[in-house]
Symmetry: C2
Subunit: 479 residues, 2 copies
Amino acid sequence: MANDKKMVEQITSMDVDFAQWYTDVVKKAELADYSGVKGCMIIRPYGYAIWENMQHDMDARFKRLGHENVYMPMFIPESLLQKEKDHVEGFAPECAIVTMGGQNKLAERLIVRPTSETLFCDHYKNIIHSYRDLPKLYNQWCNVVRWEKTTRPFLRTSEFLWQEGHTMHETEEEAREETLQMLKVYEDFYSETLAIPAVTGRKTEKEKFAGAKETYTIEPMMHNGVALQGGTSHYFGDGFAKAFDITFTDRENKIRYPHQTSWGASTRMIGAIIMTHGDDNGLILPPKVAPIQVAIIPIAQHKEGVLERATALKNELCEKFRVKLDDSDYSTGWKFSQYEMKGVPVRLELGPRDIENNSCVLVSRVTREKVAVSLDNIVEEVEKALANVHKELYDRAARNLAEKTSVAHNHEEFLEIAENRPGFIKAMWCGDAECEDKLKEETGGVKSRCIPFVEDHIADTCVCCGKPAKHMVVWGRQY
Amino acid sequence: MANDKKMVEQITSMDVDFAQWYTDVVKKAELADYSGVKGCMIIRPYGYAIWENMQHDMDARFKRLGHENVYMPMFIPESLLQKEKDHVEGFAPECAIVTMGGQNKLAERLIVRPTSETLFCDHYKNIIHSYRDLPKLYNQWCNVVRWEKTTRPFLRTSEFLWQEGHTMHETEEEAREETLQMLKVYEDFYSETLAIPAVTGRKTEKEKFAGAKETYTIEPMMHNGVALQGGTSHYFGDGFAKAFDITFTDRENKIRYPHQTSWGASTRMIGAIIMTHGDDNGLILPPKVAPIQVAIIPIAQHKEGVLERATALKNELCEKFRVKLDDSDYSTGWKFSQYEMKGVPVRLELGPRDIENNSCVLVSRVTREKVAVSLDNIVEEVEKALANVHKELYDRAARNLAEKTSVAHNHEEFLEIAENRPGFIKAMWCGDAECEDKLKEETGGVKSRCIPFVEDHIADTCVCCGKPAKHMVVWGRQY
């Protein structure tokens, strides 16, 4: 074979160096590449195709619930960003600022959007007048910029892609429902599409989004026990509406402020897929977002009839699945490794003997078991295999989440777990930010993830200060 | 009726003030709105849904030809933009520049991308090594910024949305084929999807893209005879490859430079739709991109059975079409005007008498003729009506293009036509940029649109200087 020299390169083992394993997978599965622009990444075709599949799925979920897509400018005049005090305080430190345009110094500096609450509010002020104009259920898919010192592809980059929903409602109740509904949409998307289980709940005061009254979060656990904030949904009350003077005439003909939400999820989710499902052979993609769901590898492809039958198989399958037939002159072993590295959920091997038996060999990327299946009902076999991959990925991640979640009854136990057992810690909390700060410092980074919707009663007192506990909190390190 | 006060507002007549008509339609059909950000527009849900339909259609055309989507950073380090001399000269005057990041002055200024040739080249340098790595057929959907002094929604804004294809090839021949193929893709998209006929051809030296060897263009004519550059496809040769030191080992094991193309089309196309098809009643949308293809208006909707039958009709149609049933309490007249303003291609009216007759009234947005059609085969009737709307729009625009294209045999005739007959002028040209400059000055803005692929022989000499003619050029004013 001409290409033995270009064998699939080894990747670092997860257990040896998880961070290096991550970088290897990103690079060798050709998901992303570093760019010459500090802190910004290039999303390569294979990575971008995953994003497109995610967008397609999420966008349909949003639209089914009545949301409409719009596009706001990517620049925010500095004075506009400053209208809501908490918001600007939260974002000012990480802004990229345009000061020159068309070879002239600008009269007012423009912030490259880190998020677009202020722009949506500026627009809502012009288009919301009556209760008849509500609700406004808007979403946009766009790029945003938050200046970062240390960056990692997908997880933390100065520019990233995301969707940001921004809605306005007649009543607090309706806005609060929307906030929780959209968290549920994320939760369903994670489990049904990405095969990722997660903890969901409310952020503590300290961890809230800048300007929000409540922030809800979805927190999947990565294979190494570290959390990734996977999406957030915020309830704003009428704080921005007041700051931007957005009012409407209600059903009783009174002038009132509308109630607002926003919710967002980003290309970070690709990082979550990698670190939740991947293994030492590379990426494993949940079938619903895999750019290639089925790789067909012809065996002894120079032999008569093999490529013809493989092509017929491809044509049959690609009516229903995303299929790649690799008839390149790379060696069979290279191809096996390559599609494993790229996380293709199902591989079909088809050689002369298989064709004689009217069968092919089906290999699941998760179990790596080889099973001979009949070509007569190959569509059903592949369908079943893909469903199994999804289920196995979900179950495996759920086991990891359960196994790596510990309970700390007291301070000593908390510190012991934080030091020795990677993962989440369930522990009681008094409600004071000081205790969050102290635990974070003592453990070198364990923070409150969220107050889950259902709180276990673990103890009566705060795991940190010993005062009466208000909540059970899930704690953990984060990306 | 509660809402008689909110009747559909009048729009300026096209013949009275075409520019004001355009602005009225953009605003009142709720396609876009001005933002508080100088030169940037808000694309509202109805406008964005058109863009989504256009993206969906174009993206499928690109992918069928083997193109893959990627995402490049939106910032270009100043030194990178400067690598290709002609390119930076063309774009430097209209750049927005980031000078601050994370509260610090940046060591190197970052240009907000006006186009991404330089970023693609910087990446191609890292991923192209052998002829086996070619061709690279990449595209990206993104926002770009070109600082503009005077702006108009969709037609000219400082930020706009577009797709930019960037490809690399082994040979000049292959790259040239790609350049022309992608122009053809635009041409097909304009005619098959937007129902817009256009002139296509090669730009003169003076009108080429900064850094290109050849620029091809599609130039539809707006209703008022003014051209809109609707999409361009560039052949670069190996100029950028040399500037960026991109080389590959060819089939004979020699080191060579690859040949490059790029091609782009933007949200301007929404402007083209408005100005090609619209009339004094508002927008007319080509059915393939209309967010609502069929508006169902119940007549006497309070009467028993009307809303039920209208809902059943909607359910039947929405399997195949994008349908809106308007059962709001606005008056019937208001609804008629509203959906005409919004350019919905087909309206169905359904009242008690229609239901008795098992029929409904079908109204085409183009002809505005009312026809009673049977409810039994309503899907076929609507399908036929939509196909007719597409055809009528195309034919009408083609007639406009033909009627408003004149032939100038000499200088005097050229100036006379430029002054008195809006539209395109076919005339001979010697090949000198000086003549282009002179004609533009004399006419107050008539420029060469392109050298069409098939040139008529109108005269032997240049319409400006009288020297021997090299080409027939299509001339016209432009947006």
